[in-house]
């Protein structure tokens, strides 16, 4: 076997398998069937060359330093965004003007700063939850809001709005309560399903609970006062960072950061959970229990932020995909990078949402728009990571 030849060229060799092939091979075919001849052919494949980003020297540098790069980008974006907005006129606020303008100081420190910190926390949570859930469910199409968390929170908020509870803290409490209830319901239901393995059961349970709560949400919309309450509900389900101030940041961020800490601590562990349960079991771990720990942490983090900001979609789905496409699926790098990437994504989206037009665009619309676009581009331009 020409091992040495392969060794020398291995850096250059990436064979992305298109998703259609994935489907074909995943079905029924056991691993180790893609019999591609013996060693000689392996050597030949070695010269197949780099495809796109992964092969170049610059690409290698970027991959190695991606975490630092993302942290740097986040820092720069944050510093810039602090002075971007529509005061005193659309565009940049001159930092020097803050000394003489108390309203500018007020806007920057009491409005933009907590809001942007909130956006960062929301992005960290959505990216981290998406990445870890995708790993532990071995399914790159799972996102942070699955298991009914988003729909549950939306229903909770709608109930509060319909009951006329205008105090935002009450809305948040009800939204978070319903998110937790939805999560508990999904886990409980998954235990009772008599069909499929654990992963399929959880996904199906999440689907059922999501549908259940979205129908309840529709019912709330139906009974809501179409002039006063309905717009509030609709607006809430579109997501927005407007409600985020220092007080709400103080009450939501600690829970979100605790959830993030749990997910980050399990960044190697999620790799094991992505393996077949038979394998992870034989490695001496209890995949069922650990998968639930990750699910609960992710849902709690997403739930508490959703309770304040409403439903912000697509971040948790798209960001981990992009991160994995750049430098492989190892959770040790994917998790922190998805968190940072999510934070950048949400922060940029929110900055655009609040400064592009005179009336603020709901954040969820911006993230979904960019998310869907980048997802479509990712899937058509790059061949997405394979699964067998």
């Amino acid at each position: 076997m020409p091992c040495s030849a392969r060794l020398s060229s291995r850096r250059l060799r990436v064979i992305w398998v298109s998703s259609s092939k994935v489907g074909k091979e995943a079905k029924g075919a056991p691993p180790g069937i893609r019999a591609q001849g013996g060693g000689a052919e392996g050597g030949a494949r070695g010269s197949e060359g780099a495809q796109g980003f992964k092969g170049t020297a610059r690409g290698a540098w970027v991959r190695r330093h991606l975490s630092g790069l993302l942290a740097g980008i986040l820092f720069v974006v944050f510093a810039l965004a602090l002075f971007v907005g529509r005061y005193p006129k659309p565009g940049f606020l001159n930092p020097a003007a803050m000394g003489s303008d108390p309203l500018a100081r007020q806007i920057v420190f009491n409005s933009r700063l907590p809001r942007m910190l909130g956006a960062v926390v929301l992005g960290l949570v959505l990216g981290g939850a998406g990445a870890s859930l995708q790993a532990v469910f071995g399914n790159p199409l799972v996102d942070a809001g699955f298991l009914g968390v988003s729909q549950g929170a939306a229903f909770g908020a709608a109930v509060a709005l319909v009951l006329g509870l205008r105090a935002y803290s009450l809305i948040a409490v009800l939204a978070f309560g319903m998110a937790v209830l939805a999560l508990a319901l999904s886990l409980w239901l998954a235990e009772r399903f008599r069909y499929g393995g654990q992963i399929l059961r959880l996904i199906l349970a999440g689907l059922a609970v999501s549908a259940f709560f979205s129908s309840l949400l529709a019912m709330m919309k139906y009974v809501a006062d179409p002039l006063s309450q309905l717009p509030d509900i609709v607006f809430w389900t579109m997501g927005s960072m407007v409600p985020m101030g220092w007080k709400r940041l103080e009450s939501s961020a600690p829970i979100a950061l605790a959830a993030l800490a749990v997910l980050y601590a399990m960044r190697w562990r999620v790799n094991l959970l992505s393996l077949d349960d038979t394998v992870s079991h034989s490695l001496g771990i209890r995949p069922g229990v650990e998968r639930k720990v990750v699910s609960v942490a992710a849902a709690a983090g997403v739930g508490v932020m959703t309770a304040v900001c409403g439903v912000v979609g697509w971040v948790g789905l798209v960001v981990p995909q992009i991160v994995r496409a750049i430098d492989g699926p190892d959770g040790r790098s994917v998790l922190p990078r998805s968190m940072l990437g999510g934070a950048i994504f949400v922060l940029v989206s929110d900055t655009l949402a609040r400064s592009l037009f005179s009336g603020e665009v709901p954040l969820g619309i911006v993230t979904s728009l960019f998310g869907a676009l980048s997802f479509a581009i990712l899937l058509t331009v790059r061949k997405v990571e394979l699964a067998r």
């Binding site: 091992c3 691993p31 013996g38 992505s274 038979t278 209890r286 699964a387």
Partner: protein
């Protein structure tokens, strides 16, 4: 290329020769008889029974024992209960009757981690949802030797590299599992089992669906592992593989042990015919074993 692996197998066989032919296990009582009856089986099952329902019985009164360093092949028709048997022997399923003893203690008394130190299992099918780097993939085998939230360290990495190296897969560390051929992937999966450091390897259909060259490659690797003292228990439909790897053989049919003996007994058309319910002829056919 043709003769060298045979030699490896030959060495392995002679190394285990004494233990093999001599020790015969009375399946019903699980006690060792014969000349080496002092040996305690490293893995022993007695009177296992299992069923998904009252009608769908899978195993009935299955007993077996494997000595340390021995190779045992489990053959049988589709649906005979081979995979279920392996699931029970590796602690994934609890038997409804009977029990499994690992190193003289009940398997169920071991913690998951203690069990993982001793038994590594390679399922026939494995979903691989992500395109992991080979080294990371093998590193996952180090799990039982790591604390729950620890990251793999230099020691784990050395063990993973050594495992790959021992299977002739040095140089594959930086590649991704998605770009491997079927045989290479199978070797990498076996390397993950080796990185686990367990003395017992349980493999479900290790060569099924592989082309002849890769099947032979895996067979040689298993023979080499048997040669260095690993206890190997595997299932296969390839009778030639069972004979090639030597050791003991057990034929399971309809959830019961139909025949048990030295794997050379698999050359007997009558034994095979009775177990599989079809006439076997012993003429020479092309075979890689």
């Amino acid at each position: 290329m043709k003769t060298k692996p045979k030699a490896v197998g030959g060495i392995a066989e002679s190394a285990r020769g004494a233990a093999r032919g001599a020790v015969i296990v009375d399946s019903a009582r699980g006690a060792a008889t014969g000349t080496e009856d002092h040996a305690v089986p490293i893995l022993q099952a007695s009177e296992l029974s299992f069923g998904w329902s009252a009608e769908r019985r899978v195993l009935e009164g299955v007993s077996l024992a494997v000595e340390r360093g021995q190779t045992l092949v489990v053959l049988g028709p589709n649906g005979a209960g081979k995979t279920t048997l392996l699931s029970i022997l590796t602690g994934k399923l609890a038997p409804q009757g009977g029990q499994v003893m690992l190193e003289g203690q009940r398997l169920s008394d071991y913690s998951a981690r203690e069990r993982a130190w001793r038994i590594a299992f390679l399922p026939q099918l494995e979903k691989l949802p992500f395109n992991y780097r080979v080294l990371d993939f093998v590193l996952m085998g180090r799990t039982p030797h790591m604390e729950a939230l620890a990251l793999p360290g230099a020691e784990d990495e050395n063990a993973a590299r050594a495992a790959l190296d021992s299977l002739g897969m040095a140089g594959f560390e930086e590649r991704n599992i998605g770009e491997l051929s079927g045989g290479e992937l199978q070797l990498v999966r076996i390397a993950r089992c080796l990185a686990q450091g367990a003395s017992i390897l349980v493999l479900d259909e290790p060569v099924s669906m592989l082309d002849p060259a890769h099947a032979r490659q895996i067979a040689d690797a298993l023979a080499g592992l048997a040669g260095v003292g690993k206890t190997i228990l595997y299932t296969t439909h390839d009778i030639g593989l069972g004979i090639f790897l030597g050791g003991r053989a057990l034929i399971l049919a309809q959830g019961r042990v139909q025949w048990e003996g030295a794997s050379s007994g698999l050359r007997d058309a009558e034994i095979l015919g009775r177990a599989f319910g079809i006439t076997f002829s012993m003429r020479e056919l092309p075979s890689v074993f």
